[in-house]
Amino acid sequence: AQSVSQHNHHVILSEAASLELGCNYSYGGTVNLFWYVQYPGQHLQLLLKYFSGDPLVKGIKGFEAEFIKSKFSFNLRKPSVQWSDTAEYFCAVIRDNNNDMRFGAGTRLTVKP
């Protein structure tokens, strides 16, 4: 079965630190990749997505993610985090354009001011 792994359950950083959240998936076919964010008390929002083309994808709020096909990875990065980035981050994968989206377990990011 296809699975999505997020390596870190909880990450704690100070403001201005750099962020990288790992995401790996197990399916070898065509995939579409997503990162969603859930701020405290708010609904899930799309941060960025990759369907094809340039494997380095830029999203909202200074986030970016890189698709590395050979590593089955889609890691999320931000050069300098802010306190307002405190949230839970979910990686998600759709395979073969079939609308069946699978989510990772989520990574909780706490940014200390």
Binding site: F34, H43, L44, L46, F51, A92, D100, M101
Partner: protein, 110 residues
């Protein structure tokens, strides 16, 4: 902007009660989804629907059913609520594979 609304933000029910969770989207999306979100488990798909009156089981359909009588509305039904169904329930609709989520319903079953 896509708007997905859910009928309740918080709900408290007793074991054995029948529970209805309603979801409405205003963007004429064909695909709609119900997930439950639990700490450490991420989102798990309960049911989804590609069209009116059409439904497909997700990963954890046991104890749940759904109804899609109109395109904009997708209802999740707990036939006889149990304590292990205490969770956050998220509804989503999708367009071109991108899913748009509602605010969630936090359900507590006592």
């Amino acid at each position: 902007d896509v708007k997905v609304t859910q009928s309740s933000r918080y709900l408290v029910k007793r074991t054995g009660e029948k529970v209805f969770l309603e979801c409405v989207q205003d963007m004429d999306h064909e695909n709609m989804f119900w997930y439950r979100q639990d700490p450490g488990l991420g989102l798990r798909l309960i049911y989804f629907s590609y069209d009116v009156k059409m439904k497909e089981k997700g990963d954890i359909p046991e104890g749940y059913s759904v109804s899609r009588e109109k395109k904009e509305r997708f209802s999740l039904i707990l036939e006889s609520a149990s304590t292990n169904q205490t969770s956050m329930y998220l509804c989503a609709s999708s367009f071109e594979e991108t899913q748009y989520f509602g605010p969630g319903t936090r359900l507590l079953v006592l």
